[in-house]
Symmetry: C2
Subunit: 335 residues, 2 copies
């Protein structure tokens, strides 16, 4: 999955690349893998599981706690807070349009939404379940889940595999089309302001879209080094290099500070910014990206124009029903 | 608000009282106080505030975290978990039908839903905000809230008063009518099983409904001592007396171990039980209530019948739309 890496680094630095991705609108449906076709039953079940805090050891942390679909698909915190108030070192990526990421997590270590969903539940500082056997055993005590899994997957189907498939099926519906940019790209030239159009053109000129390409502005699975340029002043403030990114997983020094290119869709809603959530505003994030990736000192006007355009990537959020989570009448599954 | 206390104690022990409350169905609307008429705008705003974790210092705990309307209106934990993983000594009461409680909190220290809503937000182990000024200042930075408050309350209306009024207005809509009991009481004699009818009749015979009276089975604001009977064996297991109840607030020794009579509506969904959440099952809660309040050793069959009836108090939950929480584009309100 890392084949394109060397190509990417070259592309990212090529400021002269035109905005190849321009005019690509966000699809309104996400493709599903062959072994997990999206069905209404799976999506309904997945929405319940996604919002159920009983998937955590304490019964207090659901997927939605850190990837909040009532907000921009995350929590607006520098680092998320898991069970017992613990925090890790990374900022929660948005779940909106995550279906259009070729790989998941900041370091891209999961190859699919299904793989990703398997991670946090048993992570001791996130949802803290001791094992997937414990998760499965707990869900099996909840009659409403027995029925919902049967509808979605057939008899006696509660397993790590079906749980993560249902969650992924739900996540594939979390798409935010019709942003001002999409409307503009679709022909409505009034959908973006003049300032936003200037910002869009500047992003192409500068080379931002060399990496942030494609309909989700995420490079469709490419990895990129961040920061590219050494800068002691900013490093002292933001500690970007402390987390080695992909190398933390691969243990390969060549992967140090390599990251999945994150989507820019709804980026205005997901402050604070970067893998460690250390940068509070979008304007400062734009300034830092120009300086650390492209070696450019952007004038304030350009930063403002680009930030204005990025606000134009905020989409329309589908209306959701609040799920009713199945009960355990007369008892509790929590200790 | 404590005038009826002495009457109550007498009533509770009068096992011969008939089930005066029988056939009272749950109203489908809750009365609002004169200074907070329920409006669609307030309810919509209140639903957003109720689900917004940014009302907590960490941005991780909303009203809904402990009083979860996707579940039985609470969290199925012995004690709720607030910011930084902290826990208090009491079990979260259900928000469903809380509008029919004359007083709020286990110890009844709040005279209204509005008063109640003012408590947890600045409680250091619950939502942990330093002050209401901080809450108001934070919400004022969120443009969508400025607009929603204007619609509900008029210009420049964001204040502790309007925030708690909106939350209370929303909570007044959280009513669960049409339980099997309500249908039975309304004339559908097939709505309860024979066992459930036996359980209902036993509750009246035993005197349970002396306190758990009225349409919400909550005595409409009465206070009661719990436990009434000294029992070293159970006290050693459950430590019921450790928390002094109303006396913790009033500092009056006469109020020791006095509690608001909690609703039995949806009681099957709110395990574990009692003010300290120390009792895991409904059956054990019934056994203990008979022993500690009425001095009776209930045979297992009676416990099963009563628990079956109590399951018949689970109502129909209104379908809710998931609120979209207003954003702070390009920045975060959290530190």
């Amino acid at each position: 999955m890392f084949k394109i890496r060397s190509l990417v680094t070259a592309l990212a630095l090529a400021g002269s690349i035109s905005m190849a991705s321009a005019w690509e609108t966000l699809p309104t449906e996400a493709p599903a893998p062959a072994d997990n076709a999206t069905t209404a039953e799976k999506v309904e079940l997945g929405q319940m599981l996604y919002h159920d805090p009983r998937l955590s050891s304490t019964g207090t942390v659901a997927c939605a706690s850190c990837h909040n679909t009532m907000l921009g698909g995350e929590d607006n915190r520098p680092n998320s807070m898991g069970v017992h108030g613990q925090t890790g070192g990374r900022s929660a990526p948005t779940v909106w349009n995550a279906a259009f990421n070729k790989v998941q997590f900041w370091d891209g270590r999961a190859a699919s939404l299904e793989d990703q969903a398997a991670g946090p539940v048993t992570n001791p500082i996130e949802m803290g379940m001791k094992s997937w056997d414990d998760v499965v055993a707990r869900l099996k005590t909840i009659e409403g889940y027995q029925q919902a899994f049967e509808k979605a997957f057939g008899k006696d189907a509660i397993s790590k595999d079906s749980i993560t498939k249902a969650i992924a099926a739900y996540e594939r519906t979390l798409i935010t089309p019709n942003s001002p940019y999409d409307k503009y790209a679709g022909g409505d030239k009034s959908a973006l302001t003049e300032q936003q159009v200037r910002g869009m053109e500047k992003m192409a000129e500068l080379g931002c879209t060399g990496c942030h390409s494609g309909p989700a502005f995420n490079g469709a699975g490419m990895f990129q080094k961040f920061p590219v340029m050494a800068n002691g002043y900013f490093e002292a403030q933001y500690h970007f290099k402390k987390d080695k990114g992909l190398a933390e997983v691969s243990k390969n020094p060549a992967d140090e500070n390599l990251w999945k290119v994150p989507t820019l869709r709804n980026i205005a809603l997901t402050a604070p910014y970067f893998h460690n959530g250390s940068v509070k505003t979008l304007a400062q994030a734009v300034t830092l990206m120009a300086k650390l990736q492209l070696g450019k000192d952007l004038p304030k006007e350009d930063v403002a124009d680009i930030a204005a355009f990025l606000n134009g990537l905020t989409g329309e959020f589908p209306k959701q029903n609040m799920p009713a989570l199945p009960a355990t009448p007369g008892t509790t599954t929590l200790n």
